[in-house]
């Protein structure tokens, strides 16, 4: 195993060669906000919150912005995770997410246990400058145990990935495009009719917001232990039960 040395926020750190910038930053205690990343499943680089600046090494060329979750470390790389520019972009991205659907924290099952809400606090979002799109979204509670509320979905596709990669059912996928994209079950049937669903509940564990929830949970009651998923993956791949 080759060790790579790089600089993150002026701190010299060493990493395994297959590590991503996000891996090594987390190990070194440098926080990088993420939403679509979930330990144990493949990264997709979709939410753009983990963008970091990689020094170009030349004053003539601007620094490159790369998502930390899918960018592998390179020897001698100089990375900045919290420049003013990045902070500004992150806040704007979170504002865009809040403007997209109907994220009403006060009536949400995940209030107080929501990664989107937490990120909003982290990036200092005290209000949203963009006009709310206010789309009419579906709530599907046809499944016996769980429900999905599209009003709160941020299309991180964690549910799609845990269902495909860990459970192996691939009940979830994405349909439509642009702002009309929606997570769907099976071939856009209602969840209750989605025969591939094993009701394992991994999507419920994975969801960062209140979009996928256990039925019966009311406001602020929807807490979950997302680390269960990485424990499962470690158990399967390394045959070690930790956690």
């Amino acid at each position: 195993m080759t060790v790579k040395t790089l600089t993150i926020d002026d701190k010299l750190v060493s990493a395994r060669e297959q590590d991503t910038i996000l891996d090594v930053a987390r190990e070194s205690g440098i926080p990088i906000p993420t939403l679509c990343h979930l330990d144990g499943v493949k990264d997709v680089g979709a939410c753009r919150l983990c963008l970091v600046e990689i020094a170009s090494g030349s004053p003539d060329r601007p620094n490159r912005l790369q998502p930390a979750c899918v960018t592998k470390v390179v020897e001698g790389m100089v990375v900045y995770t919290a420049t003013e520019r990045l902070k500004k972009y992150r806040r704007m991205i979170v504002e865009l997410l809040f403007s997209e659907r109907n994220h009403i924290c006060s009536v949400c099952v995940a209030n107080g246990h929501c990664e989107l809400q937490d990120i909003a606090i982290t990036v200092g979002m005290d209000h949203v400058r963009y006009e709310y799109v206010s789309p009419l979204c579906e709530v599907d509670i046809t499944h016996g145990l769980f429900g999905v509320d599209q009003n709160r979905c941020i299309l991180c596709t964690r549910c799609v990935r845990v269902c495909d990669e860990i459970e192996g059912a691939h009940t979830w996928d994405v349909a439509g495009r642009g702002i009309g994209a929606r997570v769907i079950t099976d071939l856009h049937q209602s969840w209750g009719e989605a025969r591939s669903c094993t009701s394992c509940g991994k999507c419920v564990l994975a969801c960062p917001t209140g979009a996928i929830f256990r039925q019966g949970a009311t406001v602020a009651e929807m807490d979950r232990d997302r680390s269960r998923l990485s424990v499962l993956m470690t158990a399967r791949e390394k045959r070690e039960w930790i956690g």
């Binding site: 979709a46 865009l96 963009y130 299309l155 996928d173 994405v174 642009g178």
Partner: protein, 533 residues
């Protein structure tokens, strides 16, 4: 198939040509239903005049001046008749005997024809795209033979590198370098993909090439496959191009039948199978990783790069992805040599470029000019300026990823670097001309809305940012926006451009940014808190 056989076919087919050829455009722009009726009427007229042993009527690909179609060309006189109708057929045939034709004639000296330089389109409008023999007649597949028998793969790569050809899909990545990377990549198998998912509004270069000279693209792909070590190719064509798909299917069958595609091509160990994949109407599938996802049968969304397709593409194997026009240049480069190609164009941009000239301009259609041609020459000479008494205000190049170039910059040379410097891009070749009645904010909003509709929805800045940009532009257009809104729009352009996942989002703000750069006064005049001076 041996070279001798190929040359025999060419000779035979050349002999079969009659002294006078009446070429009818049968491409999409000339409405095949009408042009086929014209062709039939011309055949009947030739028969009626008893000229069958001297005159031949043939269907050909695009003749270029699409706005004046249906077009009919007489060879060898190079006379082109415009807006032909079937009932004019007898008079066109009568004109062959010196009578005056009732059909309106375009002179061969028309600047639209004389100012162009045709490489990619050299056979477009001259040969029958549905007959492989006609392509062979004009030298087709000889470059492939030459590459297979007389060049090593390294030599082909060298030729491509020294030709200076750059990707014609828009980004302008050096083609030779890409080929070299794929050739060097290790993989149990490799793929060659032709990106024919042409989606820019107003662009139809690739459609026309595929409809007019499909074998040229197949030959380019075969040479590429030999060079990089691939045995399978995919032609990804958008479903909106049924005629191109039909002609390619026919071309692939003909190629296989003659042993120019398939196994043991030209009696060598080189095998190359080509399959067509039809796009389902998503603009983002023009992005190479989304295109590959679509070929694999998945949802057409981009994936992170690196790894680049050259290392890990279709099903994880090294894959060469080039645009239609890029492949269409290959045979010419091999046949005429890289130096010939490198002598055309500018220092950084070699060869010619095909443009689809549309909008408020007298001569709309498909043109090909050397790189470095001043934009003014295209707009004023070839294009004939704005129709009527209007004047041209701006030209949009590069589609939704490009920008608007104002009239006072028309002396800009058309090459990758110069266009980038003035805030636009070469793009795939769409060129939309606008006269002074056009609101540049309407134009910007049109493209932003296009990107909003075409965003795949994967990343937040593109999915939501384009929506918010469109909302702000709508507000500005309605006269209700303030200076704050304009600031917010500029800030959004910045975030969408720098944080979006793929090229679609990264370039979506370009039409706004370039119109803000050159036509800021139009935006400001619409603000509700605009100071009236």
């Amino acid at each position: 198939m041996e070279l001798a056989e190929l040359l025999d076919i060419a000779e035979e087919w050349q002999k079969a040509q009659k002294p006078i050829r009446i070429c009818c455009c049968t491409s999409t722009a000339c409405q095949p239903t009408v042009s086929l009726a014209i062709k039939q009427a011309l055949e009947e007229a030739v028969a009626a005049e008893d000229l069958e042993d001297q005159v031949q009527v043939c269907g050909v690909g695009c003749l270029g001046l699409c706005g004046k179609g249906p077009l009919v060309k007489i060879e060898p006189d190079e006379i082109v008749y415009e807006q032909v109708s079937p009932d004019q057929a007898p008079s066109i045939v009568a004109a062959l005997k010196g009578e005056t034709s009732a059909a309106s004639k375009l002179e061969p000296e028309h600047p639209f024809f004389t100012r162009q330089m045709k490489v990619v389109l050299e056979h477009s409008g001259n040969i029958d795209p549905e007959r492989i023999e006609d392509y062979i007649r004009v030298g087709g597949y000889q470059a492939l033979y030459h590459a297979l028998h007389e060049m090593t793969t390294d030599e082909v790569v060298d030729a491509m590198v020294s030709s200076g050809l750059r990707g014609r899909g828009g980004a302008g990545y050096p083609t030779g370098l890409k080929w070299a990377t794929v050739a060097k990549s290790r993989g149990e198998r490799k793929f060659v993909v032709c990106n024919g998912d042409e989606g820019d509004p107003g662009a139809f270069m690739d459609r026309s090439i595929l409809e007019s000279d499909p074998h040229r693209v197949l030959e380019g792909m075969a040479i590429a496959a030999y060079t990089v070590g691939a045995d399978q190719g995919f032609l990804y064509i958008r479903g909106e191009y049924p005629l191109a798909i039909k002609r390619l299917q026919k071309a692939i069958q003909q190629g296989k039948r003659m042993g120019l595609l398939g196994t043991q091509i030209f009696e060598t160990s080189f095998n190359f199978r080509v399959d067509i994949r039809i796009g389902a109407g998503a603009f983002v599938c023009g992005e190479e990783t989304a295109l590959m996802a679509s070929i694999e049968g998945g949802r057409g969304t981009p994936r992170p790069r690196p790894p680049y397709p050259a290392e890990s593409g279709l099903w994880g194997y090294p894959t060469l992805v080039n645009n239609v026009e890029t492949f269409a240049n290959v045979a010419s480069i091999i046949r005429n040599g890289p130096k010939w190609f490198a002598d055309i164009g500018t220092e950084g941009s070699k060869g010619t470029k095909v443009f689809a000239l549309t909008g408020q301009i007298a001569n709309t259609g498909l043109i090909e000019v050397p790189m470095g041609t001043p934009l003014r020459e295209i707009v004023e000479d070839i294009g004939g300026g704005a129709p009527g008494y209007g004047s041209v205000k701006a030209v949009q190049t590069g589609g939704p990823s490009g920008g608007c170039i104002p009239a006072d910059l028309f002396d800009t040379s058309l090459d990758y670097e110069s266009l980038f410097r003035i805030g636009s891009i070469m793009g795939s070749g769409g060129m939309v001309v606008m006269d002074e009645t056009t609101s540049m904010i309407d134009v910007a909003d049109f493209y932003v809305e296009f990107c909003m509709d075409e965003s795949c929805g994967k990343c937040v800045p593109c999915r939501v940012g384009t929506q918010q940009m469109h909302q702000l532009l709508t507000k500005i257009r309605s006269g209700e926006a303030t200076r704050d809104d304009l600031d917010r729009l500029e800030e959004l352009c910045d975030v969408v451009r720098h944080t979006s996942f793929c090229g679609l989002g990264q370039s979506a703000p370009n039409p706004v940014l370039s119109t803000l750069r050159y036509f800021r006064n139009e935006y400001e005049a619409l603000l509700s808190d605009h100071d009236v001076v």
